[in-house]
Amino acid sequence: MSESIFVPPSTTRYLKLYACFIRYCFVRELGFRFNFIARSVTGVGWLLLLVFYFDLIFGKTNSIGDWNREEYYFLMGTWFVLYGLVETLFLANCTRFSELVRTGQLDFLLTKPIDAQFLASLERIDWAELPSVLFGLGLTVYATYAGDLPITPSRAVGFLLLIGCGVAILYSFMISLASISVWIVRTQSLHELWFYIVQFGRYPSEIYGEGGLGIGIRFVMLYLIPVMLAINVPARFAVKVIDPWMVAYMVFIACLLLFASRRFFYFSLDRYRSASS
């Protein structure tokens, strides 16, 4: 064993490495410029379509739940930023992880002198999704001005911090899903199911109403699989009355899930048996 494997992990070393990932992925994308532009444009195009759809809807009604047009745009913007960040930073890595397990190439990742979760979750940055994040941010800014929303600097900072918590929540679920591939080799449908579950959270939690099914969905999506929490709480924090308990709960759950998913990731690595050659 060479000495380099036992270099103590230092933050600067990890930051430097991450800067390399960022640069490398950007250069990779530039190799297929047309594809990169086409993907960015289609990504933003879909979001524009969604905004257009809700613009039509708000031509027929003044509110959805207790959200008026601009507040709703703010919620949509929050959703675009949050999901865009997850797609830029983690999605490609998590789907790739299942592939690494299936082919046995995970061996090469594990033998590198670096934290395995760091490498598995961050090596790829999907630059083509970044325009969607910027579009979402732009939408929140537009909604703020158009609707004269009561956003103060401190609310804006809190909003961004809560977005961070939201990303952490979604990431924790995704890396756990990826870890499952150690046991179930084909996790394609699981990833797809996750995509559909996240869709529940992008609407205001109020629309689910007071019926039995609605209360059930809201309970599951706020507390058990808290994707609704991840999207609704930051937007509410920015534009509605602040509910300190919900905010505290979200920060707590984000930390808990990060911790639990890290444990689960290493638990699954212990069970990894590589692919026979």
């Binding site: 289609t42 379509l49 039509l56 027929k60 009604t61 449908s189 559909y196 869709q199 609407y203």
Partner: protein, 281 residues
């Protein structure tokens, strides 16, 4: 070359019947988590039902764009059914890549017509799909039964089924057109992604066209896309509000577009082949 081979081959019906049955057994191999995957795609419908409830509550109206609250939810379910007939996943990209990497040779050197071959294959795949999807679709429709208006008249049922058959043909021909463009340009993949989102809106898959300003909606009804999702769904739900003249006109327009697209595909294929033989290696 292909002409002389064709004259020695067995009857055309038998040829495509074999293609059909091979495609069916091919499809039945991958049925394992089919039920799970199909049911999963209906999950967004739950949110859509709640969303439209909230929209109707917010507006206080009983009808939006001509739909009641229940009909709006039922519309979102019905477009799943029309798209089950009209969507052709992978067809355009498949044709394009066959052209690009020269795989198209396998059709040219055999006594089959490529477009007919692909059409029959798709037909078989779709039939197996409906057979398997009957259970999950039936379950979802049963769960959503309260959203539906009373069952349409037998005549509407008849034209509904006819329109689904046509939506299959129109969907196939449209996707084939996109794929055949590969004879002229290599960038079909991004083009097909682009058309995917365009079709999603223009076909009424995303929302009923009536939600748009009347002039825009009327314009879109002149395009073939409405027959991919909007027309069958609307016919089923609100067909009894449609006059006989209107229905006849719509059916005629649908048949017209079908013939036009079949001709377009034929012409593109013939011209493309001439071009291909000139440049292909």
């Amino acid at each position: 070359m292909s002409i002389s081979l064709a004259s020695q081959s067995p009857s055309i019906t038998r040829k495509y019947a074999t293609t059909f049955s091979v495609a069916i057994s091919d499809r039945l191999t991958y049925r394992t988590d089919f039920l799970f995957a199909t049911l999963m795609r209906f999950l967004p419908l739950v949110s859509i039902a709640f969303l439209w409830t909230a929209i109707f509550e917010g507006s206080g109206a009983t009808r939006i764009a001509g739909f009641t609250q229940g009909e709006m939810v039922a519309y979102n379910l019905m477009v799943f059914i029309s798209r089950a007939f009209s969507s052709m996943p992978g067809l355009a990209i498949g044709i394009a890549s066959d052209i690009r990497d020269g795989q198209i040779k396998k059709y040219l050197t055999q006594p089959v017509d490529m477009i007919s071959f692909l059409f029959v294959t798709r037909l078989a795949h779709k039939l197996v799909y409906y057979l398997l999807a009957l259970a999950p679709f039936g379950l979802v429709i049963f769960l959503c039964r309260d959203f539906f208006p009373p069952s349409p008249t037998p005549a509407i049922w008849f034209w509904f089924i006819v329109s689904l058959a046509f939506s299959f043909v129109i969907g196939f021909m449209f996707e084939a057109t996109i794929g055949l463009i590969a004879f002229w340009t290599l960038e079909v993949t991004s083009l097909s992604y682009l058309t995917m989102s365009v079709v999603y809106v223009l076909s009424g898959h995303m929302f009923p066209l009536d939600l748009l300003p009347p002039a825009v909606a009327e314009f879109l009804r002149w395009l073939p896309f409405q027959y991919l999702a909007y027309f069958p769904a609307k016919l089923f739900l609100l067909g009894n509000q449609m006059s006989v003249e209107m229905l006849t006109f719509e059916i005629a327009r649908m048949i017209g577009w079908t013939l036009a697209l079949v001709t377009l595909v034929r012409v593109l294929f013939a011209r493309g082949l001439r071009r291909y033989s000139a440049f292909g290696g």
